[in-house]
Amino acid sequence: MLKKFLIKLMLFCTPFGVLMGTVNYFGDAGTLFSSPELQIAKYLAEGYNVANAPNIDERALQRHVIALLKTTPSVIVLGSSTILLMKSTNASTNSFMNHGVSGASLEDMIAIYQLYKSRGVLPKKIIMGIDPWIFNKNSGQLKWKTLEYAYTAFVLSEPMREQSSMHLDKFYQLFSPSYFQSSIKTLYAKLIRKEKIVLLPTKQRINNSLTRLVDGSISYGPKNQNLTVQEVEKRAKQDMVGGDTINLLEKYTHLSKKHRDLFDKFISQIISQNIDLTFVLIPYHPSLYTFMLTNNAYRMVTEFEQYIKGYAQQKKIKLMGSYDPARFNLDSNYFYDGMHVNEKGLEIVLKGSPSPHPREKSRYVQTAGSL
């Protein structure tokens, strides 16, 4: 009787196991079994820049990069793609790692910090690129879920549970229903779009495609490096009607209390660890900034800036930059598009101090009328 029951139970369960194992292995949403992110991290750890790495999970990359670090860098950068161009030369140290991820949310920054914390050694300085959407509860940004375990560990003040044993974890993941749910989507994409990634480790800093540099920052290919002013203006205008990043500012009605509290807890913990902390606000393209100033839907950008400046002052945190490009006299020559300053623009922001004079609002408001 027991034998019959067990046979039937196994017959029933086997298809589930086979289905999960197959989908998880070949779909491999977190690239556990065929990790381009892991391979990129390995190349970076070996001192190579990596070209041809589009559409990767940047959060997973950060996880691998941190896991493979031989020593903890003195200076790390947290933030979004707006600060991803910041290089070790900008910080005047080789002990540097940029952990910027596209569309970074507060949860991303917390999770990456937590990954360091779990190593037991924290950096001496954190440069934090502060984007205005981090207090937008409607940003819809869920990419941080890749590092959810690290974020949860921070929120619950518990030790991180993942990564204790990678091999055992891989085995678990092969039969993990949650991994199945992600992997079935990636398997579908692989089968339909025939996506294939061929990584190129290189010592060159600028290549034909986006290059991930050993210090964690990125460099764009020649197509982006040689943009004309008109092309930048065109891109900035496109951002106004809905780029990936401006979408994060949609439905931004108020500075979420939940996120403010979380941010305060995060910053307080950094300060309590005696880490030198600097906030950096990266300016927007003049056209886009004017558009946001004159459009009520984006009024929270300026409100957020005021809030964060007050917060930095209250906590005695050094703050550099402003969302307002006029503070640094930045025009299209200093941008790649509406949201991203180029290397020249970034250098000015990081070196320069805000203009002591109030910005000439009227100039941009007039421009907005012609947009």
């Binding site: 009787m1 029933f12 409607n138 678990y172 229903p177 439905k251 979420s256 209390k257």
Partner: protein, 488 residues
């Protein structure tokens, strides 16, 4: 160890297999060892607290039985109750009362030197405390012989399927089962597995998905109003039901596979047509515990009307405090007590009104209305249960109807729903799974779902099993979310 974890998926079949392969005389040891492993998977050292309670009540049971004079029996009972409750008080209520006393002292500018203690509540403490208490009380009442076998008694308190969140068993029902020899029965094991699968479905597909919305809204309720708060509260009603009844189903099913019979804990509570009926269908093992050991000893309804109502209110107030050391739970209990008393006050009025409106001619309509009102009252009370603070609860209670005048405006409805923190697809899955749940409940009004299924041909049954399995695989939320009642 969580029922919805990979560890349990290995642990349960292994223990069950060993159980049936072991000789009868060794089985209690196997189950006790398994229960220790199960409990120690949370915080290992806390098993010592459990051991203290077990030793106290084991000795107390024997002493009560051996004592010849009633005064001595009573003394042993009091010692047992006080020491068992003291453990519960220290771990669960000390900080709560201390904090309140400190606030009062602060208000009067008095010096208050007692510090808070930094301890974590042992998992399921309230459950096994109550199960232990029911043992000593029943021995005192003479309804149960004192258990002389320390291992069997320990197993009664620690039996792993119901150790951390019930059902809270009575010694008359459970203790003797550990002495009986159960052989493997195919149908019983299959039924137990089906119940476990259904419980797991309720937990991972329904409760944990609804939890996303509930956590989203309840973590910052002041950012929402009206429809969003209402939907989140209704979702919480179903979340807590599916979470807890799911746990109970898995517990009862797991015990059933091995041959043990645990008491039912839920009987479609949201189909109740009154609050008193709701409490006969919701967390039955706890409701009957309070009835037998608090309400009836207080005098029950065999006292003056005023005292009877006081007894009702007091019982629910204690029930609220049992759930958690927070004023929100106390208020939740008080609100439920008030509902019952208010129902008594207005019973004649409501009957007269129904007669005048000729609702008595439409019993289905009347019952439907009663179910709807009961559900609404229960949901309103859940606000106090789930809210983090009294301020949050008060805000929610006073802003439930804000903006509802815009219900005819599609954009308002759309915006309110988009505030819930679920994508359209996820929301669809949540609502579809709730519809499935209610469909099953409607069938269960007339028949046992498992018996109905067993009468169907093999291909039909297996299709249903695979459909449930695949729906869990595709639509389940697998974040190792704890069961809500673990915290109590």
């Amino acid at each position: 160890m969580l029922f919805n974890s990979f560890e349990f998926a290995v642990f349960f079949p292994l223990i069950t297999l060993l159980y049936f392969l072991s000789p009868h005389k060794l089985r209690w040891m196997l189950l006790l060892g398994a229960s220790c492993i199960f409990y120690m998977a949370f915080i290992p050292v806390y098993i010592l607290i459990l051991a203290v309670t077990i030793v106290i009540d084991y000795i107390a049971g024997i002493k009560i039985e051996n004592a010849e004079k009633i005064q001595k029996k009573k003394l042993y009972l009091i010692v047992s109750i006080v020491s068992t409750c003291l453990v519960l008080f220290i771990f669960k209520y000390f900080n709560f009362f201390n904090n309140n006393f400190a606030s009062i002292a602060n208000f009067f500018h008095w010096n208050y030197p007692i510090e808070m203690v930094n301890i974590i509540l042992p998992i399921g403490l309230s459950f096994h405390t109550f199960q232990s208490l029911s043992y000593v009380i029943e021995v005192y009442r003479g309804n149960q012989k004192a258990e002389r076998h320390f291992g069997i008694y320990s197993l009664y308190v620690m039996f792993y399927p119901q150790l951390v969140a019930g059902p809270i068993e009575r010694p008359q029902n459970l203790l003797h089962q550990f002495r009986e020899e159960y052989f493997f029965e195919y149908q019983r094991a299959a039924d137990g597995m089906k119940l476990m699968a259904w419980g797991l479905f309720k937990k991972v597909v329904i409760a944990d998905r609804l939890a996303i919305v509930v956590n989203h809204v309840y973590s910052a309720p002041t950012e929402y109003a009206g429809l969003t708060l209402i939907v989140a509260t209704i979702f919480f009603a179903f979340q807590i039901y599916c979470d807890f009844s799911g746990y109970s189903d898995i517990a009862i099913g797991a015990a059933q596979v091995m041959g043990f019979s645990l008491m039912d804990n839920f009987k479609r509570p949201y189909h109740a047509a009154s609050i008193s009926e709701f409490w006969k269908r919701w967390h039955i093992s706890l409701s009957t515990w309070f009835r037998d050991y608090v309400y009836i000893p207080l005098g029950g309804n065999r006292v003056s009307k005023w005292k009877w109502q006081m007894n009702l209110f007091l019982t629910f107030l204690i029930s609220g405090l049992w759930h958690g050391a927070n004023w929100t739970y106390v208020l939740w209990g008080a609100l439920n007590g008030f509902y019952l008393i208010f129902a008594l006050w207005t019973q004649d009025l409501r009957n007269n009104l129904a007669t005048r409106l000729r609702l008595t001619n439409y019993p289905v309509l009347r019952k439907g209305w009663a179910i709807l009102v009961t559900f609404s009252l229960v949901c309103f009370a859940w606000i106090f249960f789930r809210a983090r603070t009294l301020d949050d609860a008060w805000y929610m209670a006073t802003h439930l109807l804000s903006g509802l005048g815009n219900l005819g405006d599609f954009s308002y409805v759309k915006e309110s729903i988009s505030d819930l923190g679920l994508s359209k697809e996820e929301l669809f899955i949540a609502i579809a799974s709730l519809c499935l749940l209610e469909f099953v409940h409607l069938i269960q009004r007339h028949a046992n779902m498992r018996h109905l299924l067993s009468e169907k041909p093999v291909w039909y049954r297996w299709s249903v099993y695979y459909a449930i399995g695949l729906s869990m695989l595709f639509f389940g939320v697998f974040g190792k979310n704890q069961f809500i009642y673990f915290q109590f």
